[in-house]
């Protein structure tokens, strides 16, 4: 039997409403700035420019982290430490990109340590920190929100210790490519994000890992009794989230070519959780949608762009953002979706009845 296209079930999907929300916000942007969708090519940098490109580019850090956060939330938990891990990754990367002050006076295109260390070590440390979260949760039986609170609080401290409380800057050009360079006419962060999305999606959906995550998230006891190694699933998910936070941290610090233990990745955990929730994954765990999360992250960034366009005073930015997000979440809420689904169903039945007569 062929499945009939059903508009009322479309109305019931959270993803539909996320798309609607994004479209509405973009529409408002277009009204405020008629040239909003304009994309231009700059031959000197070999990059495309435009608002849409910028939104996607700037959402990279959150999108990458939110990929991992989606699975953490599907397990029924949250990871609060991701923002702190961004700071840690930046601090370690910059530590390896110091220059020898006895030779050079100012930051420039040089580094004492091999560049590969500045990339690999931060990522390894972030994976280790993710494993630490996993250890507390899987073996220690702690609630994820509490377990990850530990690194959320002390992660920035670790970042400070790594750099002795100093802020390093660098001018090393291979590092600049990560956050500010371009590939295939696009800003590098977008390319990295696409690679991450593809890899995570393949890992989750082309293996049975996604199903295992969902099974453990819905009913850990039943999953275990079915032979699933729930602890291993938890370890992998938190290690992966740590790793992705590390990538995000490298992009962030490459954008500013510096480390900033206090502000790097600030509130990223909240934005990542928000992206996942807007994307339609329930905070109680279970079924998750990576595509929804990507969309959620882009919605958050579009709102920020909209705020700039309206020229809203920076003090009011957060409040404005909150209001729009509240509207999006209400649009996606069960009663609202159900009401819309009922209305369309009633209407299509009416139309069907009319046709019979």
């Amino acid at each position: 039997m062929k499945k009939r296209f059903d508009i009322s079930s479309l109305m019931r999907s959270k993803l539909t409403w996320a798309v609607v929300a994004e479209a509405l916000i973009l529409l408002v942007c277009l009204i405020v700035r008629p040239d909003f969708f304009k994309i231009s090519y700059q031959p000197s940098t070999g990059m495309l420019y435009g608002n849409l490109i910028d939104i996607v580019n700037r959402s990279s850090e959150i999108t990458i982290i939110a990929m991992g956060m989606t699975m953490v939330i599907a397990l029924g938990g949250t990871d609060l430490s991701v923002g702190a891990l961004v700071a840690v990754a930046g601090a370690i990367a910059l530590k390896f990109m110091r220059w020898d002050v006895t030779v050079y006076n100012t930051p420039g295109d040089y580094t004492v340590y091999p560049f590969v260390l500045a990339i690999v070590v931060p990522l390894l440390v972030c994976i280790a920190m993710g494993l630490f979260n996993g250890l507390l949760i899987a073996k220690g039986g702690m609630q994820p929100i509490i377990a990850t609170l530990i690194l959320m609080v002390c992660g920035r401290g670790i970042a400070q210790i790594v750099t002795n409380g100093k802020q390093f800057t660098t001018g090393y050009s291979p590092f600049r490519v990560i956050g500010q360079g371009s590939m295939f006419f696009l800003p590098t962060p977008i390319v990295i994000t696409v690679i991450v999305i593809v890899c995570v999606s393949l890992f989750v959906r082309k293996t049975a890992f996604g199903t295992f995550v969902e099974a453990v998230g819905v009913n850990r006891s039943a999953a275990r009794l079915s032979g699933i190694n729930a602890q291993m699933v938890i370890f992998i998910v938190f290690a992966l989230t740590g790793f992705l936070s590390g990538i995000s941290g490298l992009i962030y610090s490459s954008r500013i070519m510096s480390n900033d233990s206090n502000n790097a990745g600030l509130n990223y955990e909240m934005d990542a959780i928000l992206a996942v929730v807007i994307g339609g994954t329930s905070m109680t765990g279970g079924k998750f949608s990576l595509a929804g999360t990507v969309l959620g992250s882009i919605i958050i960034r579009t709102i920020v762009t909209l705020v700039y366009y309206f020229g809203i005073a920076s003090e009011a930015t957060m409040a404005f953002k909150a209001v729009i997000i509240a509207v999006v979440i209400v649009l996606q809420s069960e009663p609202v979706r159900e009401a819309f689904a009922k209305r369309t169903r009633a209407r299509s039945q009416l139309a069907g009845g009319g046709a019979v007569k």
């Binding site: 049975a208 199903t211 099974a215 039943a222 009794l225 032979g227 190694n229």
Partner: protein, 507 residues
Amino acid sequence: MPDKTLLEMKQIEIQFPGVKALDKVDFNLRAGEIHSLLGENGAGKSTLIKCLTGVNHMDAGVILLDGKEIRPQSPQHAIDLGISTVYQEVNLCPNLTVAENIFVGRQPMKRGQIDWKTINARAVELMARFHQDIDVTRPLSFYSTAVQQMVAIARAVDIQAKILILDEPTSSLDDNEVKLLFDVMNDLKAEGLGIIFITHFLDQVYAVSDRMTILRNGHLVGTFGVQELSRVDLVTLMVGKDMDTIFNLKRADVKADAPYMLTATHIGAPGQVDDISISLRKGELMGFAGLLGSGRTETAEMLFGAKHATSGTIEIEGKKTDIRNPYDALMLGMAFCPEDRKRDGIIGDLSIRENIALAVQARRGFLKPLSKAEQNELADKYIKALGIATPDAEKKIGELSGGNQQKVILARWMATQPKVLILDEPTRGIDIGAKAEIQRLMLEMCGDGVSVIFISSELDEIIRCSNKVIVMRDREKVAELDGETCSQSQILTIIAEGAAAAGGEAQ
């Protein structure tokens, strides 16, 4: 007094999309009566109850309470009218104290503050009425399911109820606890309460109720006094077929020289079970009898690695094994349907397909996924083989009835083609037709050479199916009987008084 009609439901009709859930059903309840409502799953029992409790709205019909027409709009409204319900799964908060659970939402106040003294004193008083001398300031989760059930009933009755609905209250109680519940029900009956009792246990229907009403496929079959109808007639009326055709089962045929599949020697763990030894032949069905808490479940969990056995050895096909977790057991060809289907069995948000494929997938590891086509094939095969009632494999398992959920869990393990299958209370809380089907499946698997361990509280099904019966008592194995020759009374005696009392037959 017994002749005063308390509740009358006339010509109740309810239409669900596509089906008539109730068709002109009449039901009446007298004050001071225990009235059983019987029927298979899907017969319309819960739909009828939900009319009364304001969850479902009737399309036609009238409800008269004390001669006045009522139309319950919501569960709260029903409670205000004096209709209280205690559900199968205890609907209380395990983290609150017993007293808080009884009075939550209607706490007595004193000077604008909750009057804890009165709450606790009244809770003690109330629980005493149910023969429960317990510390009401302990959290509810501290107590057994039976006590929790009593607390739920206490709460229901204390809200000035005229009608008490008990929906499968006994499904997780052992015999003594059931007796206690019956005492309480009889006390309440004497006080003039009308009690509607829903259960799958026919013995209990006869033990406690005055009248019974039978539903089948949304239709009223009839209302009878308990003396008017024999058990066999009752089942025939409920199912529409007679009992012999349903339970026409043949015990597994085990050859005397069949090899041992599973041998456990002196396994045990502190606080769990002591020194259990069993040996199970290929194609044999071993029944585990005993009260709840006698160590049946703990033994099963130890064999499957869900709990750690600190002493003893387990051999599979003559080879010594080290089973540390369910994954090890799975890899050795074992399978386990746990006792608490909801808590340990189903993955509610996932589809039937995913639930069936889960154990096979777990054995392969996540890096070697079953393709969607393979999963569908597996799901379709078992949906058909086990007669799982569902439109398709993509329905969430959580939306199925208990019997069908159990079949899906069974399918999950059958798909792994196990050598040893452990079933802990696989027929609890499911209707008689599905029960017979699961027993038939079990025996079919034995015929295919699978060794089965079958744990059940219902002795008749243990005796009907088992080759060997293990009797557990106080966390110990007290007897091993031959399934063909043992009798229900023999097992009961052993459970009650130990093996010595039952004579020398037990080895």
